[in-house]
């Protein structure tokens, strides 16, 4: 244990995802040794993100306005909605520069073991968007792992009565991974080869 402020910082850093006690200590001492100006920049970046960034009222993506850049863009195709787990998946798909539709960010995947059920995700919001006749295709781009698949299964069953075309990214993406790690080529192929879900 260190004295007051240092230990405080270590504890706070240690609460971040993927940061263990050792990494937290290393980060804390890095910050201690850093230039004051550098640390101040970090502090203002943190404050700013909490003050300015929120979630898009339509799709749930991170945004600095009430609606995100994609939802505000009139050139995007409103007939196609691509459902992803998190905002970072939107970034991964946008990087590919091929998808011209819109997004819906669920805020995670169904994970009963973590206590996350359908009601804990932005599924009701999705259903509201789908009740609008404009949408003709729903692309389920949840992560290619078990929870992502289960979430896709759940959504496909839920929207079935609406009679939309429902597709799932092609399995060029090996199961077990996170979508954000897919490179542009693999992701592009997965989009092109997306298959319709039949029930």
């Amino acid at each position: 244990m260190y004295e007051g402020a240092v230990q405080n910082l270590i504890d706070e850093l240690g609460r971040l995802p993927g940061v263990g006690p050792k990494s937290a200590q290393r980060l804390a001492f890095h910050l201690l040794a850093a230039e004051t100006a550098d640390v101040k920049r970090l502090v203002s970046a943190l404050t700013e993100v909490k003050e300015r960034v929120r979630f898009c009222a339509v799709c749930g993506n991170v945004s600095e306005e009430n609606e995100c850049r994609v939802c505000r863009d009139p050139k995007r195709d409103s007939a196609v909605i691509c459902v992803v787990e998190e905002s970072k998946d939107v970034v991964a798909i946008e990087r590919m520069r091929e998808f011209r539709g819109r997004y819906h960010v669920l805020g995670g995947a169904i994970s009963p073991i973590e206590g996350v059920g359908p009601d804990d995700l932005r599924i009701k919001e999705l259903m509201t968007r789908l009740s609008n006749d404009e949408v003709t295709e729903l692309i389920l781009a949840t992560d290619p792992n078990l929870e992502g698949e289960a979430t896709a299964t759940y959504l496909a069953r839920l929207v079935k009565p609406l009679g939309l075309k429902v597709t799932r990214l092609a399995s060029g993406l090996p199961v077990g991974g996170d979508l954000e790690y897919a490179d542009e080529v693999t992701l592009g192929r997965a989009f092109e080869g997306r298959r319709s879900l039949e029930f």
């Binding site: 993927g18 073991i113 078990l146 299964t153 090996p174 199961v175 077990g176 991974g177 996170d178």
Partner: protein
Amino acid sequence: MRRGVRERRSGPQVRAHRRIRDNGGVSLYRDEGVVLRTQKLGEADRIVTLLTRRTGLVRAVGKGVRRTKSRFGARLEPFSHVDLQLHTGRTLDVITQAVTVRAYGESIVADYPRYTAATAMLETAEKIVAVEKDPVLRQFLLLIGALRTLGEDTHDPRLVLDAYLVRSLSVAGYAPALEECARCGARGEHRAFAVHTGGMVCTVCRPHGAASPAPESVRLMAALLRGDWRAADASEERHRNECSGLVAAYLQWHLENGIRSLRLVERS
């Protein structure tokens, strides 16, 4: 586990403890197991919790498995039955090789009620076994059998789940008394069920607040415990519901932290 100390872990399970390790100072061992749970670790790793045949509950690190290029990752998803090679670590073991024996995930995940039932099984397996690296062969076999049955889609997933729950409790030494009074042992079909006494109770022993389930619901639970699928499949929906309720209450009483995923189990 808490309360009720009946025959905890039998002899054969303990004797089944046999590990291949410690060859030339390198603590490498091989085992097969079912992936119960995975948690993200750092950038691209995962902590994988497995129920293995010989070692019991194991928590190990799968390195780089979250990258979509990792061929390893697909094999270390929940419901996968894998043949593994592990390296004993100071806090967590490290998975050095994984080969799929059978991937139950694909058929399970294609059906939402099946998925939620299977998830509750995995969570229960981890919480019932609780202790790491203590061999529990019968629990392992029970889980494999239940996942296989679920994947075959021959019975209502909720029945498969309830059968697994009562049997796994019974292997752990907490079988509910169904054909005798849990308190005095009097044989017969009793009418009251009291979770904290250990099952059915006679009119004399009946504590305040005991439930009075339909005899058919109790018979269904007994059929599930015996593995009598003919009787179980013939049961009515309302008795299945009641039986599920009793099993869930009984399970939650015996497990300290409860089973979170039970809340999300869906009927087909």
